[in-house]
């Protein structure tokens, strides 16, 4: 009897990251992970609430935990790491001598302590795992060179997120390697892309994301796999804006890990929302079959490709 997770889509699912929402639902369905939307969910407060007042932030996030608990659920799944962090922080702050009582007052009730929260990546890694993915693959992503990018919040702060290694996480790599894709060792996988300042300090964000995109290009990545709607929007939507700060000009498709898994599972492209991506992934995806043969000959791993790119570049 599979467990049913309370599903918290988060505000960006209604706009900028609709395709993350769709592909998450599709992939979970394929993996037999049962999702039930949190009834009448509301905004977690995101970074603005968190930087304003931990009490306000805690109360806004915890309201959704209350909703999930009253529906009889014990674990909330959310695609967005920022929402996830806020929910976990609310539970953590509930024990704080300064903020605990304040959250309770603002919320008007106790913060449910026994609710567990997890990202879609964590649940897929925990419940389905590499074995499960391998069993579901219909169209292997053989030859597709993927750089996995986690961003800042999926594994940090360590004590709160309790997931994977903070500096060198491997869960996304493990899942995608099981699809047959070639997973590159992306050194900046947990660097910040600057998304939370995207609107107000475009200069900063361009510098941060420019470096990420450049490094991915140098490694020869076909796509950058992400698991955060803010990272995706920032790197995809603003890739053009960042171009001015970049050394290479190559466009890199920014895809959700759920989209890549969905493709490998042979799910309908429409269900995965591939059309919603700004940098069109289809050209690189089209090459998958063709490249698979040459990849079979070449020694696996991105190391050699990285060298090739390097040697072509002026020092």
């Amino acid at each position: 009897m599979p467990k049913t997770y309370a599903y918290y889509p988060g505000c960006s699912s209604m706009g900028t990251s609709a395709e993350y929402d769709r592909s998450t639902r599709a992939v979970c369905r394929a993996c037999g992970i049962d999702l039930e939307d949190v009834h009448d969910w509301t905004c977690c407060g995101s970074t603005p609430a968190h930087v304003t007042d931990f009490g306000l932030s805690g109360a806004l996030a915890a309201r959704n935990l209350v909703q999930a608990k009253s529906a009889g659920r014990s674990e909330v799944l959310t695609p967005c790491p920022s929402c996830l962090k806020n929910m976990k922080a609310a539970q953590h702050h509930a024990h704080d001598p300064v903020w605990g009582p304040r959250i309770e007052r603002l919320l008007g009730r106790k913060v449910p302590e026994d609710m567990r929260c997890a990202s879609v990546l964590e649940i897929l890694f925990r419940e389905t795992g590499a074995e499960g993915v391998r069993a579901l693959v219909k169209k292997p992503l053989t030859g597709l060179k993927v750089a996995c990018y986690y961003g800042c919040l999926l594994t940090r702060p360590t004590a709160l997120m309790e997931f994977d290694e903070p500096e060198n996480p491997q869960s996304m790599e493990t899942l995608l390697a099981a699809t047959g894709a070639t997973v590159l060792d992306f050194p900046l996988k947990v660097e910040c892309c600057g998304a939370s300042l995207a609107v107000v300090r475009r200069d900063m964000v361009q510098q941060l994301s420019g470096r990420l995109l450049d490094t991915a290009c140098e490694l020869g990545a076909d796509v950058l796999s992400v698991a955060c709607p803010l990272c995706q929007m920032n790197l995809d939507l603003r890739q053009k804006q960042a171009a001015c700060r970049r050394q290479t000009k190559a466009a890199v498709p920014i895809m959700y890990v759920t989209q890549l898994l969905g493709l490998a599972f042979g799910l309908d492209e429409a269900d995965l929302g591939l059309g919603g991506l700004i940098v069109d992934p289809r050209p690189v995806l089209a090459g998958i079959g063709a490249r698979s043969e040459e990849a079979a000959d070449a020694p696996a791993g991105g190391q050699d490709d990285a060298k090739a790119v390097n040697s072509g570049r002026a020092e």
């Binding site: 290694e165 903070p166 060198n168 900046l188 140098e218 990285a306 060298k307 390097n310």
Partner: protein
């Protein structure tokens, strides 16, 4: 009993937060107290004199001193009262410094507490009986565990002092960490040139028996009369025949064995001699890599050996050595830094430890002393040294400073500039700790003469960029984030006790701290002793140490062993268990629980009764807590004494 109570001020150490005069006054009215006073420094000469005089003047038969911890001065005052003609065990201490004055600021509460502790001591003393030590002969042999520089020094000094020495070394050669070093700071003299002669001395000394490739499995007995069980691991070579000619090494077809001596910077053969100056210079086979052991098909070494010394069928051998004292000198190992993900945690071939770098610098190392990158064998242009890896890092459970890394990093930086004059060398440091003789001057030379770039800040990330590595950190003095592209990164990884130190400590019945370092008897006054009589410490097994300190402690431990044996006979601690045969029903519960086998059931005058073997009993008191009749009592810690202490506190 006529009891004298002496309350010490310890200058202001006690008197600042306890009122010694009030404590003495309260003590004056305690049962059987004939005299009570306060003293400025009870342990100093005038204080001791006052105690001796009071014993005479007031005809005291027992003494309580309220001062510091008995772990500090109990032996001192025992001698004092003995000088005045009392049995040294008619003496008790109340710890009103470490347990009272130093941990609370409320003078009234402290004075009350001190009075209670004195009352407990008085009640205990009233139930003390005079005790007498027994004398027993000693075995004048020393077991030295660990053949690094500290163990070598201890062994040589003991042997020179006329003691027979058994030196046990885990590896196939003595020399320890020092043998792996290229040069030593701050003199930059060749490590093997100064160590080598000492190693040869060990091999040639008639009083030293060396067991290499061996470990101590069990230590039983007691000070003066230990029995050590030593496992000599099979080298699969008859060392009586092996001449160390090295013919087998040259012909061995298995050339990919782990090279532990070279810190895995290179590979070696399955049959090997760790390095040319090894002592003993004998070959041994690593069965994990030997084709004969893996496939059954080989034996080239056996064919080639001119001495016919190869013995594939050899098995481990157990030898038992009788010794009177033990010196533990097991040294250190680098801390496990695989958890340092942001430094690669071992993923990057060109991010190496300082000890690995020593092997690259050493002319006898795998690169013949050429500084090259392990990944591609190219000479590095930029070398970055990072200090305080797994040191001063509470988040990784490693809060302490390892002490010698600042200096060896400076030495390696200087040598790097010597080996590769075109290279650029950066050192990330938090603080430079160089308090030794000529140490800080050496650091200055590294900066001024060798142009080493010191950057004050921690490195927070290393990542690959092509074939190089981006090292990113902070320069807190410049107030900036800094980045440098490096070819080689050398980590000054902190020290922890040698692998297996905890297990050895348990075998030796000594304590260890959370980094596995052995606990000394007193952090300042007994750095060579442990709390187990007859077991001494030398070198880095007690805490990180550089070479001069290790040598000094090795000599110190040897002196301790020589002092111990200077008397010829030893006296036991009479605070041991004692059976009252009249109360014993011979149920045998004490025999079952005694960890030392110090109890037997014997037939005496037609009755069965338990009996204590006095030289074996260590005075733990497990038997006393076990005996339902209270027939077996730990002297000086009897049931009645503990009950009296409890009653002294719970009077109303």
């Amino acid at each position: 009993m006529r009891i004298g109570v002496f309350v010490c001020h310890c200058g202001s150490n006690i008197a600042a937060t306890v009122d010694p005069a009030a404590v003495a006054m309260a003590a004056d009215s305690m049962p059987e107290v004939a005299y009570a006073t306060d003293l400025m420094y009870a342990c100093a000469e005038p204080g001791q004199k006052a105690i001796v005089e009071a014993i005479g003047e007031y005809r005291l038969t027992g003494v309580v001193v309220a001062s510091c911890s008995p772990r500090m001065h109990e032996p001192t005052f025992r001698k004092t009262v003995e000088r005045a003609g009392l049995n040294p065990y008619l003496f008790e201490m109340a710890n009103i410094r470490e347990h009272v004055s130093w941990i609370g600021k409320d003078k009234e509460a402290n004075t009350r507490k001190a009075t209670d502790l004195v009352r407990m001591a008085v009640e205990k003393l009233r139930r003390d009986a005079p005790l007498h030590s027994r004398r027993f002969p000693v075995t004048k042999r020393v077991l030295v565990i660990g053949g690094g520089i500290a163990g070598i020094q201890a062994a040589l000094d003991c042997a020179e002092g006329g003691l027979d020495v058994v030196l046990v070394e885990k590896e196939a050669t003595i020399g320890g960490k020092m043998a792996k070093l290229d040069k030593t700071f701050p003199t930059v003299d060749c490590s093997s040139c100064i160590l080598g002669p000492k190693m040869v001395d060990v091999a040639q000394h008639p009083r030293i028996t060396l067991h290499a490739l061996s470990e101590v499995e069990e230590l039983s007995g007691f000070v003066g009369n230990f029995k050590a069980k030593i496992r000599k691991k099979a080298p699969y070579v008859d060392w009586n025949l092996c001449t160390g000619c090295g013919a087998c090494l040259a012909k061995c077809p298995s050339k990919k064995a782990t090279d532990r001596f070279n810190e895995e910077t290179g590979l070696t053969t399955a049959i090997t001699i760790p390095f040319p100056q090894a002592i003993p210079k004998k070959a041994h086979i690593n069965p994990e890599f030997c084709r004969h052991f893996m496939t059954g098909k080989c034996g080239v070494c056996a064919k080639i050996c001119p001495a016919k010394a190869i013995r594939f069928e050899q098995e481990d051998e157990i030898v038992v050595e009788e010794v009177g004292a033990v010196i533990a000198a097991t040294g250190y190992d680098l801390a496990d830094w695989s958890g340092y993900d942001y430094l690669g945690g071992g993923r990057f071939p060109d991010v190496i430890t300082g000890l690995q770098y020593e092997r690259l610098l050493s002319a006898s190392g795998p690169t013949g002393g050429h500084v090259v990158r392990p990944s591609d064998g190219r000479e590095p242009k930029t070398v970055v040294f990072i200090q305080c890896v797994a040191s001063r890092d509470p988040s990784k459970g490693r809060p302490s400073c390892s002490g010698f890394c600042c200096m060896y990093t400076a030495k390696q930086a200087v040598l790097t500039r010597d080996h590769c004059p075109d290279s650029k060398v950066h050192v990330f440091y938090m603080d430079v700790r160089a308090p030794g003789k000529m140490y800080d001057e050496f650091i200055r030379r590294a900066v001024d003469e060798y142009g080493v770039d010191y950057i004050r800040g921690r490195v927070s990330q290393i990542f690959r960029k092509g074939e190089r590595y981006v090292v990113r950190g902070a320069d807190t003095l410049a107030g900036a984030q800094v980045e440098v592209e490096a070819d080689l990164v050398v980590l000054a990884v902190g020290a922890q006790a040698a692998h297996g130190a905890e297990k050895l400590a348990e075998r030796l019945h000594i304590s260890y701290d959370d980094q596995g370092f052995f606990m000394e008897g007193h952090p300042k006054l007994r750095p060579m002793e442990t709390n187990t009589a007859g077991v001494f410490l030398a070198g880095a097994c007690q805490g990180p140490k550089d070479i001069p300190s290790s040598v000094a402690q090795g000599s110190g431990a040897a002196a301790k062993a020589l002092c111990l044996f200077a008397k010829g006979v030893l006296e036991n601690d009479p605070q041991i268990a004692n059976v009252r045969p009249g109360r014993c029903v011979a149920c045998g519960k004490c025999v079952k629980t005694c960890p030392f086998g110090a109890l037997n059931i014997v037939e005496a005058r037609g009755r069965r009764t338990a009996e204590v073997v006095e030289t074996v009993c260590k005075g733990c008191g497990i038997c006393t807590a076990t005996c339902p009749q209270g027939a077996i009592q730990l002297q000086h810690s009897t049931d009645n004494q503990i009950l009296a202490e409890v009653n002294a506190l719970c009077r109303f």
